[in-house]
Every structure is written in structure tokens, then in C-alpha cells.
Symmetry: C2
Subunit: 193 residues, 2 copies
């Protein structure tokens, strides 16, 4: 049995979640079963959710985030250009709702990893949850060490923790060279979401 890889997609550019989605597609085509747990996200507006339904039961996406956008006066403001639905979380004072959502998500990840039901599990945006202090890096490293031998584990999100980079087999930095927001083009349905 081949050893499962620890894969990490990080950096400030596009393609971290998107590449994990592509990996899912490729894995499914090879007969593997894939689960993606999306931390911090909770909107079914994402195109991948709709598309994944067509690949059931080989591909499941479960969102464990708490929907919330940061408002400034009457305007909706978003945390970053990376994900229009990411919450504005103050890492020094995270909202209890976010903490419990992330904790529940992590418990689900743990159960899914131990279940042996999947060949690949993607913990999407977990790097944010770690850097916001919602999930402890020690817990993540312990989970990696306890995972079934053949399981591929994929981590995405900016600001990857150095301990995660250290333990990973395949680390890619997605680097933004040019972004349409720079040209004043706003979020494009089918591309951003």
C-alpha cells in the first residue's frame, strides 16, 4: 500500500482551494473516495458544492464554518480577496461562535480520518483557523501522526504554520503575480465562487 501524502497549499495567490478541488477530481477519477471539510465557510453559493453533488458518493464537501460577514457601516466588507465569505475574526478575541464551529469541524476531521472511509481528506482553510487561534497546531500535528498510513491529507489556506510546513511532503506556495481586483474587476461568478 502506498504511503499517503501530507500536502499543503499556501501563499497569497489564487489556487489553494481550487487546486485541492482539482486534486479531488483527479483522485475520484482514480477510484479514490474524497472528503473536503471547509473551515470558516458556510455558504452553499460556492460552485464546488453544487458540482460535488454530481460526484456523490465519491466526493463530499462539508462546511463547518459560521456564516458571518464583517460590516462597516452599511457596507459589506470582506476579510480578504481570497474568499469572499471569510469572516472577519480578531485573532486576539475570536467570537465564541467561531471557536465552537472550528472545534466541531476539527472533531469531524478527527472522526473522518479515523473512520477509514476516505482515501483523501482535505481540510480546506484550516490554516486560517490555526492562525486565528481557533485550532491548536499541536492537535493538528497529533492528528497527522495518528492518521491511517495510506490516507492523503491536504491542508489549504494562507499563513501556514511552520510546523505544518515541516511535516508536509508536498508544499506549494501560490503566489499572486497579477489579480483582476487590481484592474477594478470585482468577484466573478464561476471563478471566485
Amino acid at each position: 500500500m502506498a504511503k499517503g501524502l501530507i500536502i499543503l497549499n499556501t501563499g497569497n495567490g489564487k489556487g489553494k482551494t481550487t487546486s485541492a478541488l482539482g486534486m479531488s477530481l483527479r483522485a475520484i477519477g482514480n477510484g479514490l473516495k474524497v472528503l473536503m471539510i471547509q473551515f470558516l465557510k458556510s455558504s452553499t453559493a460556492y460552485g464546488e458544492i453544487q458540482a460535488s453533488l454530481r460526484l456523490n458518493p465519491d466526493f463530499e464537501i462539508i462546511q463547518v464554518g459560521k456564516e458571518c460577514v464583517y460590516k462597516e457601516g452599511n457596507k459589506r466588507r470582506y476579510q480578504c480577496t481570497d474568499c469572499a465569505f471569510l469572516c472577519h475574526i480578531d485573532p486576539k478575541k475570536p467570537d465564541p461562535g467561531h471557536i465552537s464551529a472550528a472545534e466541531n469541524g476539527f472533531r469531524l476531521a478527527e472522526q473522518s480520518i479515523k473512520s477509514g472511509k476516505y482515501d483523501m481528506i482535505i481540510l480546506d482553510e484550516i490554516n486560517y483557523a490555526i492562525s486565528y487561534g481557533l485550532i491548536k497546531i499541536e492537535e493538528v500535528i497529533r492528528l497527522i501522526k495518528e492518521k491511517p498510513e495510506a490516507l492523503h491529507l491536504v491542508f489549504t489556506g494562507r499563513n501556514a504554520h511552520p510546523d505544518l510546513i515541516q511535516i508536509a511532503d508536498l508544499v506549494t506556495e501560490m503566489k499572486e503575480i497579477k489579480h483582476p481586483f487590481q484592474k477594478g474587476i470585482t468577484s466573478t461568478k464561476g471563478i471566485e465562487l
Copy 2:
């Protein structure tokens, strides 16, 4: 009608084709029709080919490459760690078979772009075909300028031509930070293919 984007995934890391596959999945989930033309590739062993069949008719992948691996003695050698099936092409003396395969692929791209049948067209690994001298950059730029307004065009492959970077709206460099080959782990089914 929203303006279609010119998207470019380049760099030496993983995730250029993979991210384009993820974009396809997201686009399909938003009701768009997607075509991926794979230059230089011609093996149905790719997981994405198998998975795409399940998303027909909204997602089509057409391979226009000429199968060929570079042999050194009795051993199979590959062009790069990026794609196990990429051919060894000498840019100073490309094989006529590769030239005509790339030209046919380019004609197919042109017809598909003009057909108005698709919302997103991905020209996978076309950067290699350009840098190997199989396709002229001027032809590619002309195609971009003539494309239907709403069509998203995606280009992948290492060594993107500066003129393509210049005209693109969204450019991401996938940068290899750590690769399992460095640890002596060879190609992993479901991940690399």
C-alpha cells in the same frame, strides 16, 4: 454580461493543471460549460479524464498531444516532475509529429473559442507548446483578442511567455517549496496523475 477573464497558472510548482481542474469544477457548479484542451498529453491514464466523463456534457477534456516518453537506455525518463507524460522535445529541433499535433490542437482551440459553445476554455500545458516553438505566441495573442467577450480563457504550464503575462487578468505562480520526490517518494497515483 460579465467580461470573461484571461487566467494564467505558471511556475515550477504543483497546481497549475490541478487548479484549472478545480476551476472547471467550480464553473460547472455555477452552470457554465467548460472545455479543457490538453496540449502534449495523450494518455487516458490521467484521473481527470475518467472523472470528467461523469460531468459530461458540461465538462469535456480533449487531449491533442502525441504520446512519447524519452528513453535513456532501458529506463523511462521523463521531461520533468510536473507531468510524467510530457515528451522530451528539443526546442531547437522539434519532431514533426509534435508540431502537427500542436497545430491541430491550436486549430481546435480556435474553432472551440469561436463556436460560442463554451463559457470557459482551458488550454492546458500550452505554455510548453509555446516555449518549445510548436505554437507562435503572436497567434495566441490574436486568439485572445478575438475571443467572445464573456468567455473565460485559462492557460497553464511553466515558463509563461511575457506577452501572455502582460495580457492576462489573473496570473498565479505556483512555487515549489517542498516536493515528495526530494524525499525519494515517486509518482503517486491519484495525486500526480
